[in-house]
């Protein structure tokens, strides 16, 4: 169109508007854009359908009672289809955890950071090793608690201390503390 010379061809006669924009170019760009945006918008539902469905999300909070847990004992519960450890710590275990220098930790956090105020002896963590997702030992009676008296993952040898913090082995971070709250003196609601 820009190179149009004096010779009027069939094309220039049909397509050239006064402003130099060809009607056919406009229709072409508009049609391809509409088809492209339309096609791309189909991607959203296609990707989103893979995310957790409503029934999976509906099971995403768990309530449990901590009253029956004796000091030094732990219970295993299920939260989001994954194991959850709830442990009542003894005085000794608390002192051990508090005696550690933060600088010595791979993933620094204090005991107070990992528990709720007023319930400093209740430690709630996921029972999922942060290395590759195995279930650590140490929650049930008689299981290996590892070198630091907390939890021990048998898969690749990660040792967690009494606060569930990673101390030795390949795991990169502490056992995850899920979001939870005390709904009464002893009932907790996780998730």
């Amino acid at each position: 169109m820009a190179e149009a010379t004096g010779t009027a061809t069939a094309d220039t006669v049909i397509d050239s508007g006064d402003d130099g924009v060809r009607r056919r170019d406009f229709i072409n760009i508009a049609a391809v854009s509409a088809a492209g945006i339309g096609g791309l918008s189909v991607l959203y539902p296609l990707i989103s359908q893979m995310a957790p469905s409503a029934d999976v999300l509906a099971e995403s909070s768990t309530e449990l009672d901590t009253a029956a847990i004796a000091p030094g004992q732990a219970i295993k519960a299920i939260f989001r289809k994954q194991p959850l450890f709830v442990r009542r710590l003894t005085e000794v275990e608390l002192d051990e955890a508090n005696a550690v220098q933060l600088a010595d930790l791979r993933d620094p956090a204090t005991m107070a950071d990992r528990t709720k105020e007023g319930h400093g002896d209740i430690l709630v963590t996921m029972g999922v090793c942060t290395h590759l997702g195995c279930v650590p030992l140490g929650a049930a009676e008689g299981e290996n608690k590892g070198e630091y008296g907390g939890y021990f993952c048998p898969c690749h040898g990660s040792h967690y201390d009494t606060a569930g913090r990673i101390r030795k082995g390949p795991a990169p971070t502490n056992l995850e503390v899920p979001e939870y709250e005390f709904t009464s003196e002893s009932i907790i609601r996780v998730g």
């Binding site: 990707i47 893979m50 995310a51 957790p52 469905s53 999976v56 995403s60 295993k76 299920i78 989001r80 289809k81 994954q82 194991p83 029972g127 290395h131 590759l132 997702g133 195995c134 279930v135 048998p154 898969c155 690749h156 040898g157 390949p170 990169p172």
Partner: protein, 431 residues
């Protein structure tokens, strides 16, 4: 395309002539795997494995479709359905054992095929595209095999799925949501099992599609050969049929004997007893290992135990594991030596037999062993050599090596002289 001396297809009767004018399928077969496709005359048995891989792909699709008729991908019944196949379905045990061992044999022949490619540098120009498509097929195979192993919903299925999707969790920022998205939940469950089944059914057909492109790309330059010297004349080739249909048929017979021994006498030898325990999200098996064909890569994954600069050890392992295969994509451009065959490359051959192969064997053994010493240290050494081999040693050898003199032609390599070739030798009487 083909060589100028390739025999032309001639329809022999009224029907084939009628077909040739409407859908020239017989012509396609004749030119692709028949007498119309000239192939180097000196191919050894290492050139059998492409056809064998094709055979096992077909076997997996047939047995897999049959198994799908009796299986249900519901987490509450999947485990029981597999036992139903084993005990109740007529010949179900045969279908399942053939499918499970068929996967192992598919990987055996693919590894031989890749080994052939490494030693004879089959990836070099003008065959880079064949190689690239081959690596794509291998990646698709790994994904398919992994998802298939989850379907019986045993302990190894469940924890394998958890550990492998957990790898994606190592990716910074998007890792966690990505893992939840892949699983459709917070741990492997119904949603994950269903999508794995769907994809496990789909991917073999995607593989078949890429295989067609792989063969198409192969038929442009034609097969390489043990001398690495390109075909120059008619006496360098023989027609694919009957020469290589017969040779491949023999190889197929041998591997089917081995396959039958495994299916009928050692059906569970390559599996894990733990997978006959139903999936339990609250109890991890003491020793999680993937199937044997993933061991070298699993060893690379676990070789990284300390953080590297600002990259956590776990992420480094994931990057290295995927990188160990992705590196094959640039191999045609890392290896600059103009000589193809390892037979004529003295230095390359030393590093191949005494470097790469031992490193792979060490990785294989360590991948199947528990994550303790000395296996961790050995896999670190072998991983270091593996990357060094491809990224440093191969490019340097290409620069400094003095290759042995190449024969002028394939005919000379086989007969001692081009003159000994009988003219028109390949014009064997039509069968």
């Amino acid at each position: 395309m083909s060589f100028s001396w390739a025999r032309q297809y001639e329809p022999k009767n009224g029907f084939t002539q009628w077909m040739d004018e409407r859908l020239p399928l017989p012509r396609l077969v004749y030119n692709a795997v028949g007498a119309g496709y000239p192939v180097p005359r000196n191919l050894n048995y290492m050139w059998n494995f492409g056809v064998l891989a094709g055979f096992f792909l077909v076997l997996q699709i047939i047995t897999g479709v049959v198994l799908a008729m009796h299986y249900a991908s519901d987490a509450t019944v999947a485990f029981a359905k597999v036992e139903h196949i084993m005990r109740d379905v007529n010949w179900g045990w045969l279908m399942r054992y053939a499918h499970a061992n068929g996967a192992s044999f598919f990987f055996i022949v693919i590894y031989m095929h890749i080994f052939r490619g490494f030693f004879y540098s089959s990836y070099k120009a003008p065959r880079e595209m064949i190689w690239l498509l081959g690596v794509v097929i291998f990646l698709l195979m790994m994904a398919t095999a992994f998802m298939g192993y989850v379907l019986p919903w045993g302990q190894m299925s469940f924890w394998g799925a958890k550990v492998i999707t957990g790898l994606f969790g190592a990716i910074p920022l998007v890792g966690e949501p990505l893992q939840v998205w892949l699983l459709g939940g917070f741990a492997p469950d119904d949603a994950a099992l269903n999508r794995f089944f769907s994809l496990h059914f789909l991917l073999p057909f995607v593989i078949a599609g890429v295989v067609i492109m792989h063969i198409w790309a192969l038929h442009i330059p034609g097969s390489s050969n043990p001398t690495g010297v390109e075909v120059k004349q008619e006496s360098d080739t023989v027609p694919f049929h009957p020469y290589y249909t017969a040779k491949d048929g023999f190889g197929l017979g041998v591997i089917l004997i081995l396959f039958a021994i495994m299916v009928f006498f050692l059906p569970n030898a390559l599996g894990h007893p733990d997978n006959y325990i139903e999936a339990n999200p609250l109890s991890t098996p003491a020793h999680i290992v993937p199937e044997w064909y993933f061991w070298p890569f699993y060893a690379i994954l676990r070789a990284f135990t300390v953080d590297f600069l600002f990259i956590p050890a776990k992420l480094m392992g994931v990057i290295a594991m995927f990188g160990s295969i992705l590196i094959w994509f640039i191999l045609p451009w890392l290896d600059r030596s103009p000589v193809r065959s390892g037979h004529y490359r003295p230095l390359f051959r030393k590093f191949f037999w005494f470097g790469l192969i031992p490193a792979m064997v060490v990785l294989f053994i360590c991948g199947g062993a528990p994550a303790e010493e000395p296996y961790v240290m050995l896999s670190q050494l072998a991983t270091a050599y593996y990357f060094l081999h491809f990224l440093v040693i191969i490019p340097i050898i290409g620069q400094i090596e003095k290759p042995k003199p190449l024969p002028y032609s394939i005919t000379e390599a086989v007969l001692g002289s081009d003159k000994k070739a009988v003219k028109g030798e390949n014009a064997t009487p039509a069968v």
